[in-house]
Amino acid sequence: MKQLYYDVKKCLGCRSCEIACAVAHSESKELLKALKEEIKSLPRKQVLFSKNNNYPVSCRNCKEPKCVQACMAVALRYDVKLGIVEHDQKRCVGCWMCVMSCPYGAIRPNIKTKAPLRCDKCIDKDEPSCLKACPTKAIIWQEEKVEKI
């Protein structure tokens, strides 16, 4: 199963990944049109700065997701086959417990749509949009290395 990894030393903090993410999740999938959409698409990824390093932060689709455990409406569930946390908007009550419980701070609330925003690895595309947008190839898309017990 492929996961997103980051070479933090190569991240220049240009935030191109954030823009590409927002565009990929917009209606139009085009930057200039996306800015005019009524409900603005928001990036599911954020580059944070700490102690001279830039850290791209997005949902890691944990195998034992804290957000799934915290979701009282059972709107979040972990799909073992796809290896992603899925969200059912119909069940979501907008309590933001998922936002509170994520140990990585990788879920952001979209106040307007009342939906938690999380990286979905661009499951409908061959690879995540942020990957192509990174000009220094600091974002790596590769098979998860499973440690044998």
Partner: protein, 642 residues
Amino acid sequence: MSSIKEKSIDVATQEVLKKAQDESIRTTWDRYEAQLPQCGFGQLGVCCTVCDMGPCRIDPFGEGAQVGVCGADADTIAARNLARKIAVGASAHSDHGRDVALTLAMLSENHSHGKKGSHAHTYEILGIEKFKALALEFGIDVSAPKEQIAKELARKLLEEFGKQEGELTFTKRAPKKRQEIWKKLGISPRGIDREVVELLHTTHMGVDNDYKNIIKNGMRCALSDGWGGSMIATDVQDSILGSPVPVRGKVNLGVLKENHVNILVHGHEPILSEMAVKAAQDPELIKLAKSKGAEGINLAGICCTANEVLMRHGIPVAGNFLQQELAIVTGAVELMMVDVQCIMPALQEIASCYHTKLVTTSSKARFAGVTHIEFETERAYEIAKSIIKIGVENFVNRNKNKVNIPKHEMDLVAGFTKESVLHMLGGKYRASYRPLNEAIISGKIRGLAGVVGCNNTKHTHDYYHTTLVRELIKNDVLVLQTGCSAIACAKQGLLIPEAAQYAGSGLREICEAVGIPPVLHLGSCVDNSRILTAASHIIEEGGLGEDLSDIPAAGCAPEWMSEKAITIGFYFVASGVYTIFGASPFATLGSKNLTDYLTSGLEETVGGRFEFCDDPMKMAQLMIAHIDKKRRALKLKERATE
């Protein structure tokens, strides 16, 4: 989030920052944190937005794209980006110079038409000695009536902007050897406007692709500022407003007065603020202030407008660049009038949290929705008075519960110029650079350092300036300062004669004998041209080599941030001066070739070079090492580092 102590070393700044936090006022430090991380491509200078095939970016790690859509590589992109900044910096100072020259033209016109207002309310030629010397330099007969000289001089000065060929007149102030170097390299500036335009042309898509040639043209443009526009600004201001002489003043936010109407002048041009100084003393306005319950009108300055009115009138300085918002946060400022350059766009939002009125005065610098009272040279006094009146009337709106002025203020001595340094060191009757040259030759003064420039939110406010300057004077280096750097050191008490106690024994002896501080305030950032002319006089006096690059001297902008600083750096380097840019490097690190050229290759061609260093103690060591290298080359007495 960094602590208040990490934001600034200045206690007054720390106190008002605390007030800002308590009142939920967002300042530049908060906005900086909201910007993090800042884009690495921009920091490295390898993002190109020159044409619409881009924006293009070069991957500094070598895996991604190495050229833009047009084929420009990191060297071309970074050099073009830097060149554009040089052009903007040169434009800012030179345009300031143009306005001053136009003021001279206007006053000669008015006087010859007999439109002479009362002396106090109009511009005069107060620096007659300098005015005549300037006219002589331009080959004008000084026996003619003053108005005629002024008219002729203004015409010739304005011609310097539009000249197409030859060299700028002021380049002749430079030592012969330096002029030869410029001619040989083809970087002698021809006309002020031409150099800016030509440099911008070369950075258009598909023109100059050779980073060395781009920098060469960049140096010519910078020289047209240093030995052109800026020098015109300084010398004509001295002619009209009077040449500064050493004057005592006060500095820091503590100069704001609790029971007075506080008016701040902020920006860079002294022509209007000069009238504001006079209008603040207008009996009618003082009477009005008293009728509103104030004890009087207190005028103070921020940034270089402050330096200008300090140099000529001893008007107090409220603070440097990073204190402009904080002055308003004290809650005690009735009005801030601004002109051009370094005025933060955030001011209006902060002013709206208090009763402070912000007034713009230049057609070139407006804020949407902010009161604009446009400055006109002919009606300067009237306009200054009307602006101050708004401030006086605003006193009643001050919320006393929101006022908290820090108690901190410091004395300083300012008003040093190439002429007054001469007088101080040589005495009134034997004005000469000889004593200064002798002091350097004997080693009592190890060398000279120009420490100038801005503040930068990225780095602890005032820390780099003051740490560097303390270390320099401790090692017997006489420090010449301008701009926000001078204000930083003044706040820490380094600009009073008593600061000689921090100097090394040699420098201390000179300072105590002559009665000067070890750190000399030469004025605003446009007045960096004073350092160039002073250095030329040193060479003329003899004994310290034949070229500016021979003098045991170094320059530094420890906390720079503006494009003007870049241009100043370039005209110093192109004049042969070793120049350190502190805190952060130029945005060129994405091109190794260009960075190497700036920090070493340039020395072969112009005798000066850049250095980038982010540690003030290391900066001092580098400057002292360079000074000692130059001393050795001149076979002067060796100095051991203390």
